[in-house]
Subunit: 344 residues, 2 copies
DNA sequence: ACTAGAATTGGAATCGTTTCCAATTCTTCT
DNA sequence: AGAAGAATTGGAAACGATTCCAATTCTAGT
């Protein structure tokens, strides 16, 4: 049915070895032969069979992306942007991107095992790394190429494990300095799920900024959040119920901030004027929210691309160094209209 | 290096044929043999090599998803939700999901060709179908299994081409009836890109609703939009510049509506009170916008699942009928606080 | 013209499955 | 007990590529 290398060889009146050499870079083939074979390939519409090739080569130009559909809020714009970066870079490097969904966390190791052992993928992209992440353990043990988005261990030498990460500590500190400079003294903080590595990192930024400014830490101002708008809303409600409530809130994601904005408004207060609000990510809606959201920008698309570049290098056996990316604070109206003496 | 079927056969002291039968459903194998083989498989950590299997079977349990990273706004939450549905359903049906990005539209046919001819995928999912879509032409010609999200031709017998679609006509009509019942007479309409099939469909819903209510059509109230917030904002600016401006706006996507909300506010008007606003999709942020957005809900996640179910059936050679899904209007504050005689 | 060496070419062996047919073992019936 | 038929089992052939080695053709130097 399909056109095989043998069909091409017959038609071009050469051996299959020659065709193979033409397909793979054309070394050791005379110009005239190469041209003839290439013409025939085009004429017949030949495309190498991916499975035969991978079987023989014992390697796959496919990148696996473990997708926790159950955990992460599916509609989080963060994800599709990351995916676009992964997919584009993979395409450019002639690699395929394979998305494996794990609706249930218990299956994640089994899925990983199947992908690796069955030769479905030649490398893995992880996100939402957790403390003592069992996936990392498995990959390390198997010496299987992978790159994690998010650091993997607080203690380990950063280059020991291949990661691309955002400097959440510095990002939150920038946000905090901005707020403190505007006169805020009671600043709430809403985190991501506690088991994520980045949660600790960003929290440290919060604590560090307080210390640097000689402000006291009120534990009630730190609320354990999550991944969804609802959790942001719930967390902000807790903050607004304090007396006095904070005059500013830093959220560890834009999605949390959108939820928090709702809670603030439901308390009859205005985001920006009564309570300053800062997000994290800079998803595209942040600029179009009302008021536009001040946020710590992660270049998510570029991070996706960087992850793939690093992973492909590793799949080729190269050694790579981890990357730590500096986020930038994007200042918008949600923090610039605060009135220092609100009538609370 | 890896564990092969031969390793398992040797260890379990059976022939490779027997192991193969155990792996594939275990027909014609005695209970005791099956148990023994399964124990060995677990002991050695055997997983069938995907490439050897696919090569022999001449079929692939992999679904291809053509992802136009350049066109569609990457961060559109719509997409990640759809992907989650695709990925989850594919996983449940033991299929892999393969995402191919097409940063440039010119490459889309070449990419499709490569995926099909190279046996990378056994079926294709298309979205954002266009009038006279060349991708559909290619797939039909090759008789390759595919399912499109979005109808493919206005004229063709709907079951001739395999699609899952939302009844955009009915969805917009619901929204229009709701607005008209509240007393709105000048209703703006912001479309998606003109070449998408669903644009015409939804526009027809708008026109039909006007006619049913005996309202005149003002062409200036229909603005060609796009896919991003920016385009929604620009389109709404055009509408607000009319005199008099519309008292309500229907947008063909939530993302457009978020942009439109910004434009309305920049005109010093309040969304909900001065201008009613309706979106389309019901992405999760819609409920958390301020005010919460009235919108036509598409069950995107379920649609993703349905597409995969249909596609897998087709990959197995079954004949399927197209599905038309009824959307539901979700009424929230962006349309319920309108004051019939605004002081414009 | 002849030959050594380089450049090009052909094709067998191989990757790890599935599948089919023939061989073997087990049942059951007379 | 013996035979017919059913149930199990083993393994060769094939899928379509890559890769390597041997064979052939070319080139250039004498």
């Amino acid at each position: 049915m399909a056109v095989t290398i043998t069909d091409v060889a017959k038609r071009a009146d050469v051996g299959i070895g020659t065709v193979s050499r033409v397909v793979n870079g054309g070394t050791n083939v005379s110009i005239s032969t190469r041209n003839r074979v290439e013409a025939v390939m085009r004429e017949l519409g030949y495309h190498p069979n991916a499975h035969a090739r991978n079987l023989k080569r014992q390697s796959v130009a496919t990148i696996g992306f473990l997708f926790m559909s159950g955990q992460r809020q599916m509609s989080d714009p963060f994800f599709s942007t990351l995916m676009a970066g992964l997919a584009d870079a993979a395409g450019e490097m002639n690699h395929d991107l394979h998305v494996a969904s794990c609706p249930h966390a218990e299956h994640e190791l089994a899925t990983l095992e199947r992908l690796i052992r069955g030769n479905h993928v030649g490398g893995i992209v992880l996100t939402d790394t957790r403390l003592e992440d069992p996936r990392v353990g498995l990959l390390q043990e198997r010496a299987f190429p992978y790159v994690a988005f998010g650091r993997v261990s607080a203690e380990a030498e950063p280059n020991a494990l291949p990661t691309v990460d955002i400097d959440g500590h510095a990002g939150v500190q920038q946000a905090m300095r901005h707020l403190i400079a505007q006169g805020h003294r009671r600043i709430g903080f809403i985190t991501l799920p506690v088991q994520l590595m980045c949660t600790q990192d960003r929290l440290n930024g919060y604590l560090g900024a307080l210390q640097a400014a000689d402000l006291p830490l009120h534990e009630a101002l730190v609320i354990l959040g999550g991944l969804s708008e609802d959790e942001g809303r719930r967390a902000a409600e807790q903050l607004m119920a304090l007396s006095p409530p904070p005059t500013a809130i830093v959220c560890c994601s834009d999605v949390l901030a959108f939820g928090a904005a709702r809670a603030i408004e439901e308390h009859g207060l205005s985001v920006g004027q009564d309570v300053a609000l800062v997000g994290f990510d800079d998803v595209s809606l942040a600029a179009h929210a009302s008021p536009p959201l001040t946020t710590v920008r992660q270049p998510i698309y570029e991070i996706g691309r960087e992850i793939v570049h690093m992973l492909v290098q590793r799949m080729r056996g190269a050694i790579t160094t981890s990357k730590l990316i500096e986020p930038t604070l994007i200042i918008r109206q949600s923090t610039t209209q605060w009135k220092p003496t609100p009538l609370l």
